[in-house]
């Protein structure tokens, strides 16, 4: 049974294949640990390929001073190293640009997990070598490289758990999964240990100390297993895809969706990695969610940064990241999980223990209780050995001493008031005064000062009023209850107020972001020109991100240009065009806060359209940290998306307009040429023939024949002149060069002048003028209206036989005057009468009536310029009727 596949998926496949065909192929020599001979195997394979004639170049191989390896390099073309200085050090590094210039078919780049010297000089373009490799692949260069299992991002913590050594250099699993070939280099642990003892394994200095712990047989066995398993997973996936893409045949709805909830704690990173493994194993989508609760805001900066790092890690592992807000994490999570049809929520283990867990349930417990539609997986926290416990100092909120003084002041006022009341009121009533004071302190001053008020109030009440007075001794045991209630109540109110306030702040910030985005979208939607769009974009980005920004657009050759002309407020003048160009060409972000050139002071975001990158948005924040927050980065990306959308819309509109104009111009040009050549040549033929006959002394002409010839020259010359004026007039109209010279004119004058102008032409027709006696004056350009009427009259004469009747009439309605020219000729040609008013349109194609088909087009242009309209209708009883409706115009002041 063959199952029909979704066309979208087929398309995606085709596109993937195409992209793959253009892209270079990545071959990874993969192993379980250092020393098993990956580089050696790679070089051996390289020699084979070279011998077979492949254009193969060694981009970078660390020989580690081993003779065997160096021997293999002999005879292979090697790129020179790039000397990168960092402080006092000079390190040989891979030269990406040299490789791109050399453009071999296959390039060898050792150590995929290597980190470039970001701070070095010259600055590397990317932070990581795998990014260099991606760029090479994108450029169509095939790359061979080496990788150890412990450097795979998702296995990082597992390996750390096994070996106790944490790797800082990691490669996203995506790179590994998308590699075209993975060659597993395997060596039994005993052999490896033997090689190690024989000194054949190079260890970097810093690794040497850890080597004792690392190269132990149990570790090596475990790593070997990991490497084998990871390779097997890959093979499995490839086999599945090959065997008819089993996983794609599953309906998309059935695909699991996991939600990984991370809190800003030490377990977050582990949760993300676990999530990745879950998602991979079950072929599920996964979303990493962080909840912005009021509590989060109270955390120290280091903790909040950690949260951001975790979200970035998740993004780099292929997760979708989302930040929610809500009073409690559990509430926000369940709501979002329902919204997204999540099948499973993964959370860390409960952190609240003892009495606190009793007071407020942990998120994990709360989720399990609430969520009936999805599974909840609770992941136990494992100590990750080897990772040094990172110190996260809690925030040290600045202490506002003034508030504490105010707190003491409130206590003093309360005591004073109580002292005044003491002679007249019971002690329980005095308690109320103190309680009121504490509550006010809680509402106004925050938790610390409120607590102070509470304690001082209790002390003051005890000391001043509770018998025995003026001692802290308490004679009656029941006052202890009073003290406890006073204290408890103050603290409860204070924390309640604090949490409400914090939540308002969170909600406020969120609302502000949405509002800003909305404001920009709306303003973008209202604009069409690129310059205004860029100005609007820059203004909003600059305001929202407290930064300078600029939108860089490419010129027709694809080079990005700094905008010219006046600068918008918040414009960023110092954008680095070379970075921007890279971003534009690769469609990837670079600069601050990204993996590429992170040391740059500004972030460069591609403005990605549906077909190509439209431009680059460069943003330089006044505080670097501003753009490092994922929420801010996401927001900026959303802004960039909106801007790109607006620009694309404007471009599409412009393209469509240009195409339309081009097509119209083209067809107009053709008709114009055909028409003019015909309409000019015919009278010219008459003129040339007649005049040459007149000029020839050998031709004997009778006086009346000479007269006739001269007359025909005259007539044809006038015709040509008319035609040329028509063409010129129409061009002036189209170019928008016609400015109406509006004057108050009487209709009979206009009609009379038109008739006078055509006096000779209309001889032979019976012209009737029927104008009502009291027509209002109209505010028009007399010359143009006379031309319009003349054209209509000429048209009537052209298309009707001599001796028939032409009737010019006028009627008035409220604010318009309608002029009409009726004839009793053959009537309108079949088809839409509107067509007659198009340029170069003749009523009947083969008609010999003459005229270039411009007359009525000019009539329409004139009518429109006056805010009037013109139409053609068949006349009842035969013939045609052209009507022209003209607004009378405003009364003169």
């Amino acid at each position: 049974m063959t199952e029909r596949r979704d066309p979208d998926e087929l398309l995606a496949d085709v596109q993937r294949e195409e992209a793959r065909a253009r892209r270079g192929r990545l071959r990874i020599f993969f192993g379980s640990s250092a020393g098993i001979g990956k580089t050696y195997s790679m070089l051996e394979a390289a020699r084979g390929a070279r011998a077979a004639g492949a254009d193969l170049v060694v981009g970078y191989v660390e020989p580690h001073g081993r003779l065997e390896t160096e021997r293999l390099l002999i005879g292979l073309e090697c790129l020179p190293f790039l000397e990168v200085r960092y402080r006092a050090l000079v390190r040989p590094e891979f030269d990406l640009d040299a490789a791109l210039v050399r453009r071999p078919a296959i390039l060898l780049v050792d150590e995929l997990a290597h980190s470039n010297l970001v701070e070095g000089e010259p600055r590397p373009r990317h932070a990581k070598r795998w990014q260099d490799v991606e760029e090479l692949l994108d450029a169509g260069i095939s790359v061979w490289t080496t990788l150890n299992v412990q450097h795979l991002e998702s296995l990082n913590d597992v390996v750390a758990g096994i070996t106790g050594v944490r790797q800082n250099e990691t490669v996203p699993d995506r790179v590994f999964d998308e590699a075209d070939e993975v060659e597993l280099i395997d060596l039994p642990p005993d052999d490896l240990l033997a090689r190690l003892r024989a000194g054949k394994v190079y260890l970097a200095d810093q690794a040497a100390t850890a080597s004792e712990r690392f190269f132990r047989k149990p570790n090596l066995l475990a790593l070997r297993e990991l490497a084998l398993r990871r390779t097997a997973d890959r093979v499995d996936a490839a086999a599945r895809e090959y065997a008819g893409r089993e996983r794609h045949s599953r309906p998309w709805l059935a695909r699991d969706r996991f939600l990984i909830a991370v809190a800003p704690d030490d377990q977050a990173e582990q949760l993300v990695r676990v999530g990745k493994r879950f998602a991979d194993a079950l072929d599920a989508e996964w979303i990493v969610v962080s909840v912005e609760t009021p509590e989060l805001l109270k955390l120290g900066e280091a903790r909040r940064n950690q949260r951001i790092e975790v979200l970035r890690l998740a993004e780099s592992l292929g997760a979708e990241t989302v930040t929610l807000d809500g009073a409690t994490a559990a509430e926000a999570l369940t709501e979002y999980a329902r919204l997204r049809n999540v099948t499973r929520i993964v959370v860390g283990e409960a952190k609240r223990r003892g009495w606190r867990s009793w007071l407020r349930r942990s998120t994990a417990i709360e989720l399990a209780r609430r969520g009936r539609e999805f599974d909840v997986s609770i992941i136990a926290q494992r100590e990750a050995p080897g990772s040094p416990p990172r110190a996260y100092p809690g925030s040290v909120p600045e202490i506002r001493w003034r508030r504490y003084w105010l707190a003491l002041g409130i206590s003093a006022v309360c005591t004073g008031l109580a002292a005044l009341m003491y002679p007249y009121f019971e002690l329980t009533n005095l308690v109320m005064v103190y309680l009121l004071g504490s509550t006010i302190a809680a509402l106004r001053l925050g938790r610390g000062p409120a607590s102070l008020t509470a304690f001082v109030n209790v002390a003051a009440f005890d000391f001043c009023f509770v018998p025995p007075r003026f001692s802290f001794a308490v004679s009656d045991f029941q006052y202890l209850v009073t003290f406890a209630v006073m204290l408890g109540m103050t603290l409860v109110v204070a924390s309640l107020v604090a949490s409400v306030r914090a939540q308002t702040r969170v909600a406020g910030a969120r609302e502000r972001r949405t509002a800003l985005l909305y404001a920009m979208s709306r303003e973008l939607a209202a604009n069409r020109s690129f310059d205004t769009l860029a100005m609007v974009a820059v203004k909003h980005v600059a305001e929202t991100f407290a930064s300078e920004a600029v939108v860089l657009m490419p010129d027709p050759s694809g080079r990005l240009q700094l905008p010219e002309g006046e600068r918008a407020p918040g414009a960023f003048a110092g954008a680095d065009l070379s970075i921007a160009q890279w971003v534009h060409d690769h469609g990837k972000p670079a600069g601050l806060g990204t993996d590429t050139l992170p040391a740059a002071p500004a972030q460069y975001l591609p403005l990605a359209g549906t077909r190509r990158t439209l431009g680059v948005l460069a943003v330089r924040p006044r505080q670097r940290r501003r753009l490092l927050l994922p929420e801010q980065r996401h927001l900026l990306e959303t802004f960039a998306g909106q801007i790109a959308l607006a620009i694309e819309r404007a471009q599409l509109a412009e393209d469509a307009e240009a195409a339309r104009v081009a097509a119209e111009t083209e067809s107009l040009r053709n008709t114009l040429l055909a028409s003019i050549s015909h309409d000019l040549r015919t009278p010219l033929a008459v003129i040339a023939g007649a005049s040459s006959a007149l000029a020839d002394p050998n031709v004997e002409l009778r006086p009346d024949a000479r007269q006739a010839l001269a007359h025909s020259i005259d007539t044809k010359a006038r015709e040509m002149s008319e035609l040329i004026s028509n063409v010129l007039d129409l061009m002036r109209f189209e170019a928008g060069e016609v400015r109406l010279r509006l004057e108050w004119e009487t209709v009979d004058d206009l009609v009379g002048t038109a008739l006078a102008r055509l006096d000779e032409r209309l001889r032979g027709w019976r012209v009737e003028v029927v104008l009502p006696a009291e027509l209002p004056a109209v505010r028009v350009d007399a010359a143009l209206i006379i031309q319009l009427l003349s054209n209509l009259l000429d048209n009537a004469a052209r298309h009707t036989p001599r001796g028939t009747r032409i009737r010019v009439g006028a009627t008035q309605s409220d604010d318009t005057v309608e002029l009409s020219v009726e004839d009793t000729g053959p009537g309108l040609p079949p088809g839409d009468p509107e067509r007659l008013f198009a340029k170069f349109q003749r009523g009947r194609e083969e008609s010999n009536a003459g005229g270039a088909g411009l007359g009525l087009a000019i009539c329409r242009a004139i009518a429109r310029a006056h805010g009037g309209r013109i139409s053609a209708t068949p006349r009842p009883g035969g013939g045609a009727c052209f009507r022209f409706v003209l607004p009378i115009g405003a009364e003169p002041p």
Binding site: R741, T746, D748, D749, G752, T753, L755, A756, L771, D781
Partner: protein, 238 residues
């Protein structure tokens, strides 16, 4: 006085047009002086003291308008503009600069000759008022302000008389709207041409045999009016 021949200066850069004009004018017994640019035209105008000038607006060395202004500075010489600039604004500019009338290119010979005759008549008469007009079967005595038709006296209002007088002073030539308003109503009414339109209409209704298709008071679309009189018998006034 032997042969009182009128001298006409032609300032035109196209030699073919100069040739046609010369043939036409000489056939009508005018003497023709030719100049192919404004500089030359200026010299010829000063040295020959022609009776009329035909000036093209598009000249190679400078604009015809400036030549018109220059000549107007020292001479009431009648100037006829011959131009392919058919825009009304260009015509008004030429008239404002001091030209007496204009003829569009391409032109017809009878029209051109009629215009030349009209401007020459005006020159011979100076700024004096014609004593009386004859419009078909209507006689008008402008001095006595009496109009008589075939059926007896016609009543014209004083304003209508002034309008007619103004047109008659420039008989055969164009008078711009602005000029008419200025001369009939006075400078303070300049720009208000609506009244002018209705007075012209009323005048036509009284004087024209077919007011719908006037033949004496003719509209020059967008520029002004022209009073066309039946040509008097002899070509030349002595």
């Amino acid at each position: 006085m032997t042969q009182a021949m009128f001298q006409v200066l032609i300032v035109e850069d196209d030699s073919a047009i100069r040739g046609v004009l010369r043939t036409l004018l000489e056939a009508q017994h005018y003497r023709v002086i030719e100049a192919e640019n404004a500089g030359r035209g200026s010299i010829e105008a000063r040295s020959h003291r022609p009776d009329a000038a035909i000036i093209d607006l598009g000249l190679p060395d400078r604009d015809g308008l400036s030549l018109i202004r220059e000549i107007r500075d020292y001479s009431p010489l009648p100037i006829l503009v011959l131009s392919a600039r058919t825009l009304e604004s260009a015509k008004i500019a030429a008239l404002d600069a001091g030209a007496d009338d204009f003829v569009d290119k391409p032109f017809s010979a009878p029209e051109l000759l009629a215009r030349i005759r009209a401007v020459l008549r005006r020159n011979a008469r100076g700024e004096q008022q014609l004593p009386h007009l004859r419009l078909g079967r209507i006689e008008i005595d402008l001095t006595a302000r009496v109009a008589t038709g075939p059926d007896g006296a016609l009543h014209l209002t004083p304003l209508e008389f002034r309008l007619l007088e103004c047109l008659a002073r420039h008989a055969g030539m164009i008078v711009t709207h602005a000029q008419l308003v200025r001369e009939v109503w006075g400078p303070e009414r300049a720009g208000d041409t609506r009244g002018l339109r209705s007075y012209v209409r009323m005048l036509r209704q009284k004087l024209e045999p077919e007011p719908g298709q006037p033949r004496y008071i003719v509209t020059e679309a967008g520029v002004g009016y022209r009073l066309i009189l039946d040509e008097p018998g002899p070509e030349r006034l002595d």
